[in-house]
């Protein structure tokens, strides 16, 4: 089965915005590479994780935040189109939750894709919004449920790390299964191969 135009377009928009989010996220993180639990945290208070990275206070967080918010909007809008389109075409039902036999993806792949789309990405949006004072002035439970603003920042970082690991694994599996053919299928929508399990 070939990838639909919707899946192909949203895949590459998500890929581009994800790269921009990681790059800008690291730029923001470097201003204060320490993570805390609870509402508050600063140098001089106990931390949860001290990342082995230098404190970079040379003004990287300005463009970092501009790019982070722009790419976050692109990722969120793209993700919304993808999920709504996927529901309409029964993409998730057919390929993830109730696959036909033989299934297009194995059970580990299906669990991973479902967790990324319906668990990790929503958690990134939630913890991102939980760090916004404007948003939490209206919806305080977004941050109180997380255990505080610094907890939200820490969960945001951990989930981002898991997503980066997913992308590394995803690209490795594509390379293993035939990089050119599978990337071509995701760009042009051609048939990668009838029998083989895709990544």
């Amino acid at each position: 089965m070939r990838h639909s135009a919707l899946v192909r377009a949203t895949h590459w928009l998500t890929a581009a915005s994800f790269i921009a989010l990681v790059v800008s996220g690291v730029a923001i993180l470097l201003a204060h590479p320490r993570l805390y639990w609870g509402e508050t945290g600063a140098v001089g208070t106990p931390s949860l994780i001290d990342l082995p990275l230098p404190f970079m206070l040379t003004g990287q967080s300005g463009w970092g935040r501009y790019l982070h918010f722009l790419s976050a909007w692109i990722a969120v809008l793209t993700g919304t189109v993808y999920v709504l389109g996927g529901l309409r075409a029964n993409h998730f039902g057919q390929d993830l939750f109730r696959p036909a036999h033989p299934a297009k993806y194995n059970v580990m792949q299906r669990i991973t894709y479902a967790a990324v789309v319906f668990g990790l990405f929503p958690l990134m949006i939630w913890t991102g919004l939980a760090m916004s004072p404007a948003v939490t002035s209206v919806l305080p439970m977004l941050v109180t449920f997380m255990g505080g603003q610094q907890s939200a920042r820490t969960v945001h970082f951990i989930v981002a790390t898991v997503l980066v690991l997913f992308v590394v694994g995803h690209v490795a599996m594509v390379a293993f299964a035939g990089f050119r053919r599978h990337v071509g299928a995701m760009i042009l929508g051609g048939e990668p191969s009838a029998s083989e399990v895709q990544t």
């Binding site: 201003a31 204060h32 945290g41 140098v43 935040r65 404007a134 209206v138 603003q149 610094q150």
Partner: protein, 181 residues
């Protein structure tokens, strides 16, 4: 699925594109009328800034305020970010305990004023225990006591056309906040 380009398909696509374009134009017109377009709506990051700004304005339209905390949440460490200003003016103010300091207010106001620390301390006081997060990532909770900015803005007669309050610091830095419309 057929890959043929039919007349029906062309007409549907053209109508959708036309509808989308005029919908966008109407949305931009409405957004501008309700003050949803920020000054930095142009440039590379303009779209992101506009979406964030407009959502904040819509979300906080009912005048929601920052979360408040109880006294036992006040942080034991209140971080100071960086050294104090080195400017000569500032050193003089420091030496005289800020008795010669004045808060200069001008711009779109009926009565441009300079308010001394004694003036500000004589105004009605409000208190709040709020969380302050630096864009770098650290944060603390403190109790803030003093005259509300709104009181001072009414005092100097801020124009209904004024949309932002801009603060200038001693190190040539500045920051702005939205005024409630």
């Amino acid at each position: 699925m057929s890959r043929l380009i039919t007349r029906r398909k062309v007409i549907t696509t053209a109508l959708t594109a036309l509808g989308g374009a005029s919908g966008l134009a109407v949305a931009a017109r409405l957004a501008d009328r309700y003050g949803l377009i920020p000054p930095d709506h142009g440039g590379l990051y303009g779209a992101g800034e506009t979406l964030t700004y407009a959502s904040h304005r819509l979300l906080t339209a009912r005048g929601s305020l920052a979360r408040e905390f109880s006294r036992d949440h006040i942080s034991k460490v209140a971080p100071v970010n960086g050294p104090p200003p080195t400017a000569f003016d500032y050193q003089q103010l420091l030496r005289r305990g800020f008795t010669n300091w004045g808060l200069e207010i001008d711009g779109l106001v009926a009565r441009p004023s300079s308010l001394s620390l004694a003036d500000l301390r004589g105004f009605p006081v409000s208190r709040q225990i709020t969380h302050q997060a630096c864009e770098e990532g650290w944060s603390f909770i403190a109790e803030w006591i003093g005259v509300p900015l709104g009181y001072v803005l009414n005092l100097v007669g801020a124009s209904p056309n004024a949309r932002y309050v801009v603060f200038y610091a001693y190190d040539d830095d500045w920051e702005s906040i939205d005024m409630a419309t």
